[in-house]
């Protein structure tokens, strides 16, 4: 069996237009998953990892793990930097430390991306249920 490929990245979060549109009264809908349950990767990183646009990947940090869809970043090149739009998916794995100033560390979290074919990306409601259960 071949070993599963893995990609080490620094994770950042932030606003996108799609995320901003989806939060206006459609947070419980599938559109929110498609807008914020995604990770934008450098196309070369994707090739190295062996994933295509729309494949499910697992993003794991010291603070948690989350399943999201891989997306080809329009803002490349940014090898080694992964972007998940702000929202419950990013927040499941970012570094909560406020560095004694009240602000969590939303950008620059070390993460590992692995392919997760056959797995399912949870919607906001299921993600919350999982968090409360765990």
């Amino acid at each position: 069996m071949t070993e599963l490929k893995r990609l080490e990245v620094s994770l950042i979060t932030g606003r996108t237009i799609e995320q901003g549109e989806a939060i206006e009264g459609r947070k419980m809908a599938q559109g929110y998953v498609e807008a914020a349950g995604v990770v934008y990767l450098d196309p070369e990183d994707m090739e190295e990892l062996g994933v295509w646009e729309g494949d499910v990947v697992r993003v794991e940090t010291d603070f948690g793990s989350v399943l999201v869809y891989a997306r080809r970043s329009p803002d490349a090149p940014h090898r080694g930097v992964a972007f998940i739009p702000m929202g419950p998916w990013a927040n499941a794995i970012i570094n909560p430390s406020t560095d004694s100033i009240g602000m969590p560390s939303f950008k620059g979290v070390k993460a590992v991306v692995t392919p997760a074919l056959g797995e399912e990306v949870l919607d906001a409601r299921s993600l919350l249920a999982k968090l409360r259960g765990g």
């Binding site: 620094s10 950042i12 979060t13 932030g14 606003r15 996108t16 237009i17 901003g20 549109e21 939060i23 206006e24 009264g25 459609r26 947070k27 419980m28 809908a29 603070f63 948690g64 970043s73 329009p74 803002d75 490349a76 090149p77 940014h78 930097v81 972007f83 702000m86 929202g87 419950p88 927040n91 499941a92 794995i93 970012i94 570094n95 909560p96 406020t98 560095d99 004694s100 100033i101 009240g102 602000m103 969590p104 560390s105 939303f106 950008k107 620059g108 906001a124 409601r125 919350l128 968090l131 409360r132």
Partner: protein
């Protein structure tokens, strides 16, 4: 069917507060929005198509039932009055009157009062308190600036009309040829949509903004700088510094790339210091790209009422301010608060899992107009009218210019303005506590 066009409407989405929106209304429904960007349009249109809350809800043992406003308020007041250290959070997506009542409520409860700047430009506030902030209004930028720098922000996605209304594309009094009279520089870790519109893009290594700022300050003072700093060549740094020194009026806008990355408030401190240094050569200003449409108002109202812009703790009977101890994420992650009132905000979506876990374990009251993951964990949900669309009020633009929000349509029956709901809640809390209800000015 008769249509009505309401003009000069102010958009209640981001800190740009665009005030040139036209909204077409048919039978009290918004059917078309003109001039607004995709984000603003989504907000206006969401009132009739989104997952709107119109009835007060009470969640008992996992099941939800509709209740009267009176019952919801009674339950909410009891939850808050019973709490030892309630958190009152949100506030940036409502108007200033509601914020003012919120401050009074926090004081009576001895609670922790925080707005969304603690996860946004809180570090900017801290840096400003340390080193000041040379700034101006967006009108001045439009009329005078010939060099625009966007650092760690992506307005094309987060403030889509910022470039077209205030900085890059409009013709100004001294910039008659519009974009031809201006230079745009973008400094970011990704080659964003904004970067693609710029004359010059500088790709900084993630988490190395502080170093790049320091190198620019050193270069400005004619010190020798290394061959490469933060992934940027000496040549590029010197050229950008020359651009800055030789412009007539420069404006540096920055976003979460500085406030959320390693260094946080120290990054902002260094950016402000760079701009101060530049004023020895030319006119230069700096401005944070505020996200929520009235987060600047929340800072302003909290400051005039308590002396502090966010993370205000009333537990000792007087306002105390210590981000790192008294911001929402601190009291949640340290499991210090035992109840929460969330107003026009969705921390369950936007806080780290560790904070959400605690929030989901305590009694929560939400005042909002849409179903969100936060209303999903709330014990009491009170439906509100939408400030800036269904309610008038005041909001502060990112340059802290106050703008009067318009009422465009009537709210659904039973949905009251945030400030009215909060006033009734304040009255009920005071009743339980046996204290006189404070009079809230400006609300």
């Amino acid at each position: 069917m008769p249509e009505r066009v309401v003009s000069d409407v102010v958009c209640p989405f981001c800190g740009c507060l665009c005030d040139d929106i036209e909204v077409v209304v048919r039978e009290n429904r918004i059917v078309e929005v003109r001039e607004a960007c995709a984000l603003g349009t989504a907000k206006f249109m969401s009132l009739s198509v989104g997952e709107r809350i119109t009835k007060p809800l009470l969640r008992v043992d996992g099941s939800v039932r509709q209740v009267s406003l009176e019952e919801a308020l009674k339950e909410a007041a009891k939850m808050l009055a019973d709490a030892e250290r309630p958190l009152l959070y949100g506030w940036s997506s409502t108007e200033c009157g509601a914020q003012a009542v919120g401050v009074a409520l926090a004081e009576v409860l001895g609670g922790v009062l925080d707005n969304t700047s603690s996860v946004c430009h809180g570090p900017t506030v801290l840096a400003t308190q340390d080193v000041g902030c040379p700034s101006c209004t967006l009108g001045q930028v439009k009329n005078r600036a010939d060099l625009i720098i966007y650092w760690g922000c992506n307005p094309m996605q987060a403030h889509p009309r910022h470039m077209s209304r205030y900085t890059t594309f409009p013709r100004g009094f001294f910039r008659e040829r519009g974009v031809k009279d201006k230079k745009i520089v973008v400094i970011d870790v990704r080659h964003t949509e904004t970067a693609r519109l710029a004359d010059r893009f500088i790709q900084v290594e993630l988490g190395k903004d502080y170093e790049l700022l320091a190198a620019m300050r050193a270069a400005l003072k004619e010190y020798e700088i290394p061959e490469k700093v933060a992934g940027v060549s000496r040549k590029d740094i010197l050229e950008v510094v020359e651009l800055m020194k030789n412009c007539q009026f420069g404006a540096l806008f920055f976003g979460m790339g500085l406030t959320m990355s390693f260094g946080k408030h120290r990054n902002v401190d260094n950016a402000i210091s760079l701009v101060k240094d530049l004023n020895a050569y030319t006119k230069f200003i700096i401005m944070p790209m505020r996200g929520h449409y009235n987060v600047a108002g929340a800072n302003t109202v909290f400051t005039w009422e308590t002396g502090f812009p966010y993370a205000v703790d009333f537990s000792r009977g007087y306002p105390r301010y210590n981000p790192g101890e008294t911001a929402a994420n601190d009291v949640l992650q340290n499991e210090e608060c035992d109840a929460a009132l969330i107003v026009a905000s969705d921390p369950v979506s936007h806080f780290p899992a560790k904070a959400v876990k605690h929030l989901a374990s305590i009694p929560v009251i939400s005042i909002d107009f849409h179903h969100t993951p936060t209303t999903e964990i709330s014990k009491v949900v009170i439906p509100a009218a939408v400030a800036g669309v269904e309610v008038e009020g005041t909001a502060y633009r990112m340059d802290t210019v106050p703008i009067r929000l318009k009422k465009v349509v009537e709210p659904p029956e039973g949905c009251l303005p945030d400030r009215e709901i909060l006033r009734m809640l304040l009255e009920k809390v005071c009743e339980i506590k046996g204290v006189e209800t404070p009079v809230v000015k400006h609300a």
